[in-house]
């Protein structure tokens, strides 16, 4: 049995902390090392075996972590995001969450007058100092004391640093300047993240070195108060922060979703010039491109000669000589994202390229077929049809006699010819005439077309015309319930009284 000297040596306690820093040799002399080693041997004697005791605990914790990771992967998963789009400069960058505190620190630092302009102090010097501090800790703190009560200063500083990192992470979403231009959030954030911890650390140092008699308790109180103040101010910052608008981005994950997303985008963005099936070779009714000869985009010429990347580029950057407008964000901040352009390409491939087979699920009909006497509604039937065939031109910013069709209200109440356009129960409504290949002539000038046939390039299919006709003839119901109320059951055929079999 090893006989231990009383530890620590009473003499050691007389040495003051600051002086220890200077005369480390005396502290970490051979004698001290020996004492530390003996003390450790003593602990080993009343300890455990690495195998199986320690390993057992390690395995339990690792297993717990493994289960946790699988649960997170299964039930939360990885948030989908759109493909990288270098031309989308409006994107708000956010690093991985464990770098958010640095991100916020830089933002707050940038608010400081004068000093804030010297970027590299915050981006280089301060992080480098932090890393350097970590590296040199064993050489800064060379006294042999390990007990918490004897290491209040380092533990307090580390504690404040950790609280600081936590609150900076919590505040990372709150901008430093409000929409009204007030600097208040930035100032509060600087108080919580820089001023309070800074002052606390200076006080702690003063207590340890200048007033040597400062007790452990006072130092702990200082640290606790500072941490609570930091958390409190952070709470105020978060409470004052405007509710963050979460913009949900739709990410099509499966092939079917991508084809359908591409179809919707194509209908709105491309139908105007290329027609709903991509077959148009002469553009009609489009401002600035009237009569332009283009190649059909649903045939081999395009689909066989361009790969997906090339097609994406044509859509993103356009072909000025051939009349193709650029749709990417490089030319138009409101334009399509890289992912959206990809969906359009996927849609074109699977819909028109005969080397690709479209999955069954992607071919679901645009609207449920109508039974005899059934009245279509806006939400179930008209909306998808309008989106596919009409909205590409009939929206803001296009040449369309100011007739917009992006929602129910607009369809009924906009347009230069609103008085005659959609008249409930009237088959002479302009709307119904033009979709049935009958242009409306200008009453004041019978040689001029007031409204051409719609859509200009290709007549609608009879079942689509039928949907519009039934809808207008029955008073344009908006919801499925309203339409169901108008359902006229087919006139029942006169039946012979029951019991008598019909011949």
């Amino acid at each position: 049995m090893v006989v231990l000297k009383p530890f620590p040596d009473p003499k050691m306690e007389q040495v003051d902390y600051p002086e220890e820093l200077g005369i480390t040799e005396a502290i970490m002399g051979e004698e001290t090392k020996q004492r530390i080693n003996e003390r450790y041997r003593h602990e080993l004697n009343r300890g455990e075996r690495f195998w199986p005791d320690s390993i057992f605990k390690d395995l339990i914790v690792s297993l717990g972590i493994f289960v946790l990771v699988i649960l997170l992967a299964t039930f939360i998963g990885v948030a989908p995001d759109a493909k990288a789009d270098p031309s989308d400069t409006s994107y708000l960058p956010r690093p991985e969450w464990y770098f958010l505190f640095l991100f916020k620190f830089l933002a707050i630092y940038g608010q400081i007058p004068l000093l804030g302009k010297i970027e590299w102090i915050a981006t280089v010097i301060i992080p480098a100092l932090a890393v350097l501090l970590l590296v040199v800790i064993p050489f800064l703190e060379r006294n042999p004391d390990r007990y918490y009560g004897k290491r209040v200063l380092p533990i307090a500083i580390m504690g404040l640093a950790v609280v600081g990192m936590v609150i900076l992470t919590l505040m990372s979403d709150v901008p430093t300047v409000t929409l009204e231009g007030s600097d208040l959030p930035g100032i509060l954030q600087a108080v919580a993240g820089l001023v309070i911890p800074g002052v606390a650390v200076i006080l702690l140092f003063l207590m340890s070195f200048a007033f040597k008699k400062a007790s452990t308790q006072i130092m702990l109180w200082t640290t606790g108060t500072a941490a609570l103040l930091m958390l409190g101010v952070t709470g105020v910052v978060l409470a004052l922060a405007p509710k963050a608008e979460t913009t949900e981005i739709e990410i099509a994950q499966t092939l079917v979703d991508q084809i359908l997303a591409g179809q919707d985008l194509y209908a709105v963005q491309c139908t105007e010039c290329h027609g709903d099936d991509g077959s148009v070779t002469t553009i009609e009714g489009v401002e600035g491109l009237e009569g332009k000869q283009i190649s059909a985009i649903n045939g081999h010429d395009v689909l066989y000669t361009l790969n997906d990347a090339a097609m994406s580029e044509v859509i993103a950057y356009g072909r000025p000589d051939a009349g193709m407008t650029p749709f990417g964000k490089a030319y138009n901040p409101e334009g399509l994202t890289k992912s959206e352009i990809d969906y359009i390409v996927v849609f074109m491939r699977y819909m028109w390229d005969d080397r690709f087979e479209i999955p069954e699920e992607a071919l679901k009909p645009l609207f449920p077929p109508l039974a005899d006497g059934e009245v279509p509604s806006y939400e179930v039937h008209i909306q998808p049809i309008v989106k596919r065939y009409c909205v590409s031109c009939h929206r803001e910013g296009k040449e369309n006699n100011n007739y917009w069709m992006t929602n129910y209200e607009e369809i009924l109440t906009t347009g230069d010819n609103v008085d005659n356009n959609i008249l409930p129960g009237n088959s002479e409504s302009y709307f119904l005439q033009v979709i049935q290949e009958t242009p409306i002539m200008d009453p004041e000038n019978p040689d001029e077309e007031l409204i051409g046939v719609m859509p200009p390039n290709k007549a609608l299919k009879p079942n689509v015309v039928d949907v519009f006709t039934r809808w207008i003839m029955n008073g344009m119901p908006e919801t499925a319930e309203q339409a169901a109320a108008l359902f006229v059951a087919p006139t029942p055929v006169e039946r012979a009284p029951s019991g008598t079999p019909t011949p």
């Binding site: 300890g47 605990k57 992967a73 493909k83 990288a84 270098p86 950790v162």
Partner: protein, 222 residues
Amino acid sequence: MAMILKKLYNWLDERLGLKGIYDNILDRPEPRGNWWNTLGSASLFLFILQGATGIFLSVYYTPSPDHAYDSIQYIMDGVAFGWLVRGIHHWGATLMVVIVFIHMLRVFVTASFKYPRELTWLIGVGLLLATLGMGFTGYLLPWNQRAYWATTVGTQIAGTVPLIGEFILKALRGGTDLSALTLQRFFAAHIWMLPAVLAGLIGIHLYLIIRHGESHLPTKED
């Protein structure tokens, strides 16, 4: 049967020195254990988990701007249990950063970095930085909006270093802008350079831990 196993063991023992490994590595005395001391091995476990899932992901992943995004879509949608493997890799990374950081705090609070374990601490700091480096390089690989713009800003920050900033920026990006080269070198750093550094440092770290033993929880006597 028992005879054959015994012979096999003896044959292996003669050549591998299994008894020596058992005596020196497994059958060691340790101070009375506590649960905080399991975080180091938990970090090691996560490193192995990340390695295993990462190797699987590299089978399908393509490090080019044209295909990176789509190859991950394929892993998520087309490969059996690909979503699970990627999910584990994603959350494993988050947990690894958390666990490594808490491990560092534990070592700091119990002052385990003091004599004779100063070098273990130094290696540990290297491991922490390399883990963060893995997080930073891995974040770009999905080539989505988050990844692209976070890396743009991250490398910009590295570019603010006085005098050599321009050089660092270009070295990180492989040019003035984020491009195919950036993705390629982040990929190389993520699957070759940093894992090699990590594995080497982990080896030294483990050797030092076995040499000095785990530190005991300090009491008033320490």
